[in-house]
């Protein structure tokens, strides 16, 4: 008999699943050429309900379903991050889908199901359940990537993401199998108990394989090659979604798999991957003309910064990683929301040249994008600054001087290409007449949420950081 409280511990997941099903059921009732906006609004209500459910959960910390689910500050933190990402993405999509004439009601359902998968990833403490959650979130995003059906590059993105993604998840599954073989359990905390004081070659191999699988999801080098093409082809709000949501969730899983289990042998793997991601991501971004590709490379680099915090390992490192995930989500989702608004029908306007003179045509939008870009550089008063600050100071505290130097040089290089976008927006004359539509209400709210989050994390990071430290503590228990 499963106690009732167990259901509360998966309440947000349940709520979102139910709303996803409702969206699917109402979809056929709307005429084929009608607006799908009502579905979006249902999805948004669902996400708000999910947030409420998450808040409700905070009174019910503990394990559920035979110790496969664990609700603690760590899971709640990532629930909130993922739900807010989904909220902003849905708000942005309301307008985007109309403009792009994408009339697929399942879009919103897939966003909701994907979110369920990501939430489950952060709450699961059982490797098999983690795998299932990973698949739920991945499959949703594979389909979402191909939503611009008329564009060949969108189909390419979807297929590429799917093929490489399934390949990578297979690695993860191999890892899980090996862990089971070596320790006789797939429960994270069970593994931790087993691994105390002993390890074998099989465990090293398993950790390596799982890292490959998750490294693909977070787009860290050398598993990053899919990122630019997929981000370029996918619809912009979906890129906002998959460059932050699955990434945050996968980092949550990585935190559990590497640290909560006390697994050995990951240090140099993480070190090399962090250094490679930062360097390759930033060098790649330097030469991009397409803004979506530019941000794709930047997201690889940011995965690298985050891995620096992983390499720092101790509690400061973990809390820095959690904080980084949250602030990266805020600024990146915001940046892509602006891009998706500006892209216009058929995503025509996505190159740097199209951004020339945006500061004059649309001062507000340009100013908002500037703030997100400054945050991505890591300039004070924005969340990106403290995120980088915590990561590098954690690395220094763990005496990772080499990695810190690589990271700091990389952030200086990165300033150049983000700045290039700002230079185009404000300092170049506009080329031709590119219309900019008024900012619709949905997008306005979405931008406001990410903007407030970015600035809040940059001015008063204290509370979120304290919470992140608490989460890091809970994670290790």
């Amino acid at each position: 008999m499963i106690p009732a409280v167990d259901y509360i511990r998966i309440l947000p997941e349940l709520v979102l699943s139910v709303f996803g099903i409702i969206v699917m059921m109402i979809d056929p009732l709307i005429p084929a050429h009608g607006s799908k906006k009502p579905l979006g609004i249902i999805a948004i209500i669902g996400i708000l309900a999910g947030l409420a459910a998450t808040a409700f959960q905070t009174g019910f910390y503990g394990n559920a379903f035979y110790n496969t689910i664990r609700v603690d500050t760590f899971s709640v933190f990532f629930h909130v991050v993922v739900l807010l990402i989904a909220l902003v993405v849905s708000l942005t999509s309301l307008e985007y889908l109309e403009v792009q004439r994408i009339r697929s009601g399942e879009y919103y359902a897939l966003v909701l199901f994907g979110t369920v998968g990501m939430m489950l990833m952060s709450a699961a403490v059982e490797l098999v359940l983690i795998f299932i959650a990973l698949e739920i979130s991945s499959i949703s995003t594979y389909i979402l990537a191909g939503m611009r059906r008329r564009a060949a590059e969108s189909a390419e993105a979807s297929l590429k993401y799917f093929l490489l993604g399934s390949f990578a998840t297979a690695f993860f599954l191999y890892g899980v199998a090996l862990v089971f073989g070596a320790t006789g359990t797939t429960n994270v905390y069970g593994i931790a108990q087993y691994l105390q004081g002993q390890s074998s070659l099989v465990v090293y191999l398993a950790v390596g394989l799982m890292f490959v699988g998750l490294g693909f999801k977070v787009a860290s080098a050398p598993f990053h090659v899919w990122t630019p093409d997929v981000y370029e082809g996918s619809p912009a709000p979906v890129v906002a979604f998959m460059s932050t949501g699955p990434k945050a969730a996968a980092f949550a899983v990585l935190l559990r798999v590497l640290f909560a289990t006390g697994a050995p042998g990951w240090f140099w793997m993480v070190w090399v991957s962090a250094a490679l991601s930062m360097t390759l991501g930033n060098i790649g971004a330097l030469v991009q003309q397409n803004v979506k590709r530019l941000l794709a490379y930047s997201s690889i680099a940011h995965a690298g910064y985050l891995l620096v915090a992983f390499a720092a390992a101790q509690q400061v490192g973990i809390s820095a990683a959690i904080f980084y995930a949250a602030s990266y989500a805020a600024m990146n989702v915001g940046a892509f929301a602006v891009i998706s608004h500006f892209a216009s029908t058929g995503e025509k306007y996505v190159t740097l040249d199209d951004y020339a003179g945006l500061g004059r045509r649309s001062p507000l939008l340009a100013a908002i994008l500037t703030i997100f870009l400054l945050s991505l550089i890591g300039i004070p008063v924005t969340g990106g600054f403290f995120a980088k600050f915590y990561v590098f100071s954690a690395a220094l505290q763990s005496h990772l001087v080499g990695l810190t130097i690589i990271g700091v040089i990389n952030s200086a290089v990165a300033a150049y290409y983000y700045l290039r976008v700002i230079v185009y927006m404000y300092m170049r004359d506009e080329r031709g007449d590119i219309p900019v539509a008024r900012i619709p209400a949905g997008l306005g709210i979405g931008l406001a949420i990410s903007l407030i989050a970015t600035i809040y994390l940059g001015v008063l990071p204290g509370r979120v950081l304290d919470y992140a430290m608490q989460s890091a503590q809970d994670l290790m228990k």
Binding site: V381, S393, A412, L419, V423, M427, R428, L460, G462
Partner: protein
């Protein structure tokens, strides 16, 4: 009154920011925007005058302090305070700001709202740099000056403005990363970002591994400040930034932003690492003297007036660095005084250049000649300010240079002799430029019909002219609050500095002897 004294620094720092936020919601009517920006900057000036008024002179240490916890992890405090050095730099900033608004009244006709928002944000950041006593907060404001200034250059500049803006941004940004690394190191070892706490921890030798790291920490701070000053080999961003920047941008760049560098050297490099400062002084002084002479020589041959004035900054700021690293009371007093006086003179020079640019849209010297005939008032203002910049006795430039040179002589005669040539050079290039631009016949016909200065332009120049005169005649008004702060800063040197000055000479005595009162 206690409430005001406790909060006055926060008010002065954040008043412009509040103004900028309000301005963002303003309707796009250019005239109102200008008046509003002027009102905000005047209000800030007024608030900042509270500081010298109630500043307790003759007392070292920080005043008007505000200290509260800002972030618990890491332990960052919102700690503000000023001493006699930063006091006047704050007032210089708030004093130049309304003039910058006035000078931009007509020359900025496009994207007016954005311009004044950026200016006001910049003011907050600049004042913040001078009053922050928490290293983290300092870095925060330091970086925050970067964006508005780069945008002002890039959006409102002319010619190769993008190149100049990006160069300015990258130079400063990359250099300040080294400072951040040094700050984090200090935090990791002391658990505090507080300037006073770290200073006393260093003095009492409590920090493990400090003596091995000291050189690197010193250099970390030094690189960031040297780029900003700018010191000789890293000065190349300055001429570009100055030439392409709009007038108000140049005024603030020369008047305030460069002083952030010398202020940082004085406050942090000397304040935290006295021993390293002394050890490294010879090559730093060498760079400063090279800057003085090289800046002058390069200035002399510039065909572009604005570039010429930009290079004079390299030379004049060389004096400041020389004064600071002479470690003598006179030298450092002079350095601080020179910072203020350079802000006034060079700020005024850039404003004058802006006025002529508004009329002719060129800075080429060959385009001018005989300007004194059509524009007598302009020529008179220019002559007065130029003489103050050259260092004519009874004007502001003289006092600073004289004190610095006296200090340099005390430290080592060779320094003084070499640097003193800079005074001659500066007379050469400025007077020669003045002759080519203002005297003789009008060579370009377009210049015949130039309007002389109008009321707004005169109003924006008079305060600077008066300041130049008063600073030249009554320097003790400033020095009596600078002096105690400097002697406090140098106190830790008297133990280790061999080049000890005859301690009995007091700065006010020297000054009053020189100006014959």
């Amino acid at each position: 009154m206690k409430f005001i004294n406790d909060n006055i620094l926060s008010i002065v720092v954040f008043l412009p920011l509040v103004g900028a936020i309000l301005l963002a919601f303003f309707p796009r009517r250019d005239r109102d925007i200008r008046y509003f920006a002027l009102a905000v900057s005047l209000l800030t000036l007024l608030a900042s005058l509270h500081l010298p008024w109630y500043f307790v002179r003759g007392q070292s240490g920080f005043q008007f302090e505000a200290d509260s916890q800002w972030i618990t992890h890491p332990n960052i405090h919102y700690h503000l305070g000023i001493d006699g050095i930063s006091l006047w730099l704050v007032v210089l900033t708030t004093f130049l700001m309304p003039l910058c608004v006035l000078i931009s009244w007509k020359s900025i006709g496009d994207r007016v709202k954005e311009f004044f928002i950026l200016m006001l944000i910049l003011e907050t950041a600049m004042i913040g740099v001078f009053v922050a006593l928490d290293l983290f907060l300092f870095y925060f404001f330091w970086e925050a000056t970067l964006i508005p200034m780069a945008l002002i250059i890039g959006m409102y500049g002319h010619g190769r403005k993008i190149y100049a803006a990006v160069k300015f941004f990258l130079y400063t940004m990359i250099a300040s990363v080294f400072m951040l690394a040094a700050i984090i190191w200090l935090y990791a070892r002391t658990g505090s970002f507080d300037f006073v706490t770290i200073q006393s921890a260093i003095q009492s030798g409590q920090i493990a591994g400090f003596s091995q790291a000291a050189l690197w920490l010193f250099l970390g701070f030094f690189v960031a400040f040297a780029v900003k000053v700018p010191l000789f080999p890293v000065h190349t961003w300055l001429p570009d930034a100055h030439v392409e920047a709009p007038t108000a941008g140049s005024v603030l760049l020369a008047g305030v932003l460069l002083k952030m560098g010398t202020y940082g050297l004085l406050r942090f490099n000397l304040g935290l690492f006295p021993e390293e400062a002394r050890r490294n002084a010879p090559w730093i002084i060498a760079l400063a003297i090279i800057g003085i002479i090289y800046g002058s020589l390069v200035a002399m041959i510039q065909p572009n007036i604005k570039r010429l004035i930009a290079y004079t900054s390299v030379s004049h700021l060389g004096f400041v660095v020389l004064g600071i690293f002479s470690f003598t009371q006179l030298g450092v007093d002079g350095a601080v005084y020179q910072m203020l006086s350079h802000g006034v003179s060079t700020g005024a020079l850039f404003m004058l250049l802006g006025m002529i640019y508004d009329r002719r849209h060129t800075y080429e010297i060959t385009e001018y000649g005989g300007l004194a005939t059509p524009m007598p008032v302009f020529a008179t203002f220019f002559a007065f300010i130029m003489l103050s910049s050259v260092g004519l006795p009874l004007l502001n430039g003289f006092i600073g240079e004289f004190l610095v040179l006296s200090g340099a002589f005390q430290a080592k005669q060779l320094y003084g002799i070499l640097a003193a040539t800079g005074v001659i050079w500066s007379a050469c290039y400025l007077l020669w430029m003045y002759q080519r631009v203002f005297y003789g016949n009008v060579t370009v016909t377009a210049n015949n019909s130039l309007r002389d200065l109008d009321a707004r332009e005169r109003v924006s120049l008079w305060p600077l002219v008066i300041a130049a005169l008063v600073m030249g005649v009554a320097p003790t008004l400033w020095l009596n609050s600078i002096d105690p702060a400097v002697s406090a800063a140098l106190k830790q040197f008297s133990a280790i500095t061999q080049a000890a000055a005859p301690a009995t000479i007091h700065v006010t005595q020297v000054v009053s002897q020189v100006i014959g009162r």
